[in-house]
């Protein structure tokens, strides 16, 4: 429950809207909630991933002023899918994490674009993919892998800290 609340608050739109711009590189900002959702879904399974994705996406929608529910739906789907597939994939290797997060971001971008097109989203597909989705996917991939490695390192040092 505590993790859930943490995801909702820090992984959601609030942290994204306030911290995201600070992490911009060449006008590309990472999708922090998506990375959080993927990491949580891999650890806690599809149901948790789906719920966390829904809450994080909903908050992100609310904070950005976009259509409420679009990212809630796409992130919930991504959370569920990665939670269900996580058990079958070897996701502990950065060589899997980086392309995995890149593909997931692209998948989320495609589903979001398809959904937004139903509501007459004016941006052209090619431009959106070139300038928004692909650069963000790469950024997410490396940032997510760095986070996974940092978490793994923190977990490996925890028992040693306790015994010392």
């Amino acid at each position: 429950m505590r993790t859930f609340v943490a995801v909702a608050i820090f992984g959601g739109g609030i942290a994204h809207a306030t911290l995201g711009p600070a992490l911009r590189i060449a006008d590309v900002a990472p999708d922090i909630p998506l990375i959080m959702v993927v990491l949580l879904a891999l650890r806690r399974g599809p149901e948790f991933g789906c719920g966390a994705g829904f809450v994080a996406g909903l908050l992100q929608d609310a904070a950005s002023g976009g259509l409420i529910g679009v990212q809630a739906l796409t992130k919930a789907l991504i959370g569920f899918a990665i939670g269900a597939l996580g058990g079958r994939l070897r996701v502990s290797q950065p060589l899997v994490q980086v392309p995995g997060l890149v593909l997931l971001t692209i998948a989320e971008g495609l589903s979001r674009f398809a959904l937004l097109k139903l509501f007459r989203f004016p941006a052209p597909f090619g431009e959106l993919m070139t300038y928004v989705v692909l650069p963000q996917a790469l950024y997410n991939g490396f940032l997510g892998a760095a986070l996974v490695l940092a978490l793994a390192w923190a977990e490996s040092t925890r028992p040693r800290t306790r015994t010392s």
């Binding site: 995201g20 590309v28 976009g66 941006a123 431009e127 070139t130 300038y131």
Partner: protein, 266 residues
């Protein structure tokens, strides 16, 4: 005995003999003493210099932070002065607001401003800054409003080229740039560097607010519409304070912005 012999002058060179032995020793001792004192004083000086160096470093660090704070305050002061000057000169009812969050992902480009329903902000309120148009309010909440920035892919604004009076529409693009879409026959004389301002058509935005400058022209031959790439008048990523036009917005405010009036030298 030595004393007696000395007094009688029998061993006059005794002192000389002794001096031959003692003088080198004295010299060596004096040199050692000098060296020791020198090393000690050098050590003490080095220690003092080190302590002073540390103190000076700390002071330099503190002064650097202080200087940054002063620079930040001066910049904030200048920004607020410009905003206040604009607010006072505006023939419109405006409300100042502070940016508390930004969405910069490319899908949506928006700012969250700390003025909401309680401040009588309504949807589609124009949002401006000292350099030009920022966007419009798309969502009003109890304590905040979401401002759709001009570079948002869903943003469109009626605009006009100041020099040629060419009418068109400024659209946001996913890459964070602006595109001016105009009728081919009307825009034949548009040049790079031309200023584009709000046209005031539709009554949503006051007339004459700078939107951007023409950076490149995309001539599409015999096509009905041509396009021009614009450099935004406002640096959206660095906006911290804004003005919300909460009153009647159908005024011409071009005189408040340099170069925005027809015939003004840019």
């Amino acid at each position: 005995m030595l004393l007696t012999l000395q007094m009688r002058g029998s061993i006059a060179g005794a002192s000389d003999v002794l001096a031959v032995v003692t003088t080198p020793i004295q010299s060596v001792l004096a040199r050692v003493n000098r060296a020791t004192v020198g090393v000690w004083s050098t050590y003490r000086e080095w220690k003092n210099v080190r302590a002073e160096n540390r103190r000076l470093r700390e002071e330099a660090q503190r002064l650097r932070v202080e200087a940054l704070r002063v620079t930040e305050t001066v910049e904030e002061n200048q920004r607020l002065r410009r905003l206040l000057a604009l607010k006072e000169a505006m023939p419109l009812t405006t409300l100042s607001g502070e940016v508390i969050a930004r969405e910069w992902g490319g899908w949506v480009r928006s700012l969250t401003v700390n003025r909401g329903r309680a401040d009588h902000v309504s949807r589609l309120t124009a949002v401006i800054g000292p350099d030009g148009l920022i966007g419009r309010v798309v969502d009003v909440r109890p304590g905040a409003s979401i401002v759709q920035v001009l570079t948002d892919p869903a943003s469109t604004v009626g605009a006009v080229v100041v020099r040629t009076r060419t009418q068109g529409i400024v659209e946001g693009e996913p890459r964070g740039t602006l595109r001016f879409k105009y009728m081919a026959r009307e825009g034949s004389s548009i040049q790079v560097g031309d200023l584009v301002v709000t046209s005031g058509a539709g009554g949503l935005f006051p007339r004459g607010i700078p939107v951007g400058r023409v950076r490149a022209i995309d001539d599409r031959g015999s096509a009905l519409f041509h396009y021009a790439q614009l450099t935004p008048a406002v640096e959206f990523a660095r906006i911290d304070e804004v003005l919300l036009v909460v009153g009647e917005g159908s005024h011409d405010v071009a005189a408040l912005f340099p170069g925005a009036t027809p015939g003004a030298s840019d």
